[in-house]
Amino acid sequence: MAISIIVMLALFVFYMLFLGARYITPGFLFGLPGESSEAGGGIGPEIFNSFYILTLTLLMTVPIAVSAGVYIQEYARPGRFRALVQFSAEALATVPSIVMGLFGLLIFIYFFHLRFSAIVGAMTLTILNLPALMRVTQEAMRTVPDSLREASMSLGATKWQTVTKAVMPSAIGPMTTGVVLIAGRIFGETAALIYTAGLSVSANSPYDFSLTHSAETLAVHLWYTRSESLVPDVDRIGNGSALVLLFMVLVFNVAARVLGRFLSKRLTGKSS
């Protein structure tokens, strides 16, 4: 069983390489997309938008989800309120991303009259990923044994000092791993962005930091090119984009482990 998983991943990666590797050129990676019915062009703005929306999403998700997770895990006494928060988070976590995308469309676009944009996409992804990151925070805090909390409290630390100076630094490894894995998921998210971040890139420049520009990401671009586009070189753009996307997500996964281990070592002084 275990080996078949490795074999499947390897086959998948090699197949993608076989299909897409020849299209990966600097012009493809950094160039602007072509006109809608002509061949040629790159995916520069799409890669940028993917990172941009990821950054925006993390900037909003991490503070909210970490505070919520720390509160629930360290402060909230077991009871009705805590159970309700847990239940809500679990319910929210099971919402399919396309439904969340349509929710974003209803609320941000129709109700608040915002435009398809980077910020609307990021807000939608924030809602989508809050529960997972809250869970990651809780799990990370749970790896810290109570004996450390007792040690800290018995030295005359306040609850807040105990959480920030003893518990959180001890949980930094699993915490980082979790955040980066979720970042990988955000990077590859598609359905929730179609109706919120839009299907076109900024007309101003390939690297547009405006929060309100339409910001098609790499994953959305891949979906759009494959299913809707009229360009003659669909295979080139599709296979090339898919390979880049796959590579990025793999990088996130590897980075999650490496970073988690590195930070654990740095902040907890554990030598391997």
């Binding site: 004996s147 007792e150 040690a151 409290m153 030295l155 100076k165 630094p169 907890t268 554990k270 030598s271």
Partner: protein
């Protein structure tokens, strides 16, 4: 009581401790004199650790635990409404059964307390670290690797580090909950020597399951059984001339 020869540092009067509806400690009164070692002995589950944890308000952290009665530190009630448990724990330090160093460096472990109490001067912190580690008889073993992880130390060294960590916040009372029970005999004797040193400056209350240990290190001994203090007296009286039948049975190994 006997303890009045030296001034009473910590006094428990009619203390009850409950876990939910279960009463773990019944009507316990005990005077702990300053600059002495008071040992709490008794069979497993007799409530001696529970009593110890009431002395620095550690039960505040356990949902469902409740302490009744009066415990005074220098005459002031530590459970009074205006008593700050954070200040109490600063003045009454605790060493736990299993060594529980933070997953940080040796240095960071020792200065954790002083830092949270507002000391930020690097030079001063370094001095505190050296002084505390010397007091805990650990300095010579770790002085060259202060920036290594505390988790790399042996169990006995970790426990002495935990003692150094407590000493660094300069408490007045040190509570020890079977501090040597997870250690080998050599490490245990080091900890015992250390306790002998500590009582010159501190009030030490130690829970131990080892009667020999209590006899070796303490001036006073309280014998706990089924949540009550059965007998309290000088250690030599308790071990040689127990007044209560239950104490005698325990001392002579008839139960426990």
């Amino acid at each position: 009581m006997i303890a009045t020869e030296k001034s009473v540092k910590l006094q428990a009067s009619d203390v009850d401790v409950f876990y939910g509806s279960f009463q773990a400690i019944k009507n316990a009164s005990l005077a702990m004199a300053s600059q002495t070692v008071t040992a709490l002995i008794g069979p497993s589950g007799c409530g001696k650790s529970t009593f110890l944890r009431a002395l620095n308000r550690m039960h505040d952290l356990t949902p469902g635990a409740r302490v009744e009665g009066k415990i005074t530190l220098d005459g002031a009630d530590i459970y009074a409404p205006d008593a700050d448990p954070v200040v109490i724990r600063h003045r009454i330090g605790m060493v736990f059964q299993r060594p529980n160093p933070f997953p940080k460096t040796i240095f960071e472990n020792v200065i954790y307390g002083p830092k949270i109490h507002g000391e930020s001067n690097k030079k001063r912190l370094t001095e505190i670290a050296e002084k505390s580690l010397r007091q805990a008889a650990l300095w010579d073993e770790v002085k060259d690797r202060l920036n290594r992880s505390a988790l790399d130390l042996s169990g006995g060294q970790q426990q002495r580090l935990c003692i150094a960590r407590v000493l660094a916040v300069e408490p007045e009372v040190i509570l020890m909950d079977e501090p040597a029970s997870a250690l080998d005999p050599i490490a245990t004797s080091k900890i015992e020597d250390l306790i002998g040193e500590l009582k010159r400056n501190y009030t030490v209350v130690i829970v131990t399951h080892s009667m020999q240990q209590a006899a070796r290190i303490s001036e006073f001994t309280a014998f706990f059984h089924l949540g009550e203090i059965v007998e309290f007296g000088t250690t030599s009286d308790i071990f040689t001339r127990p007044k209560e039948k239950r104490t005698e049975d325990y001392i002579t190994g008839r139960f426990g």
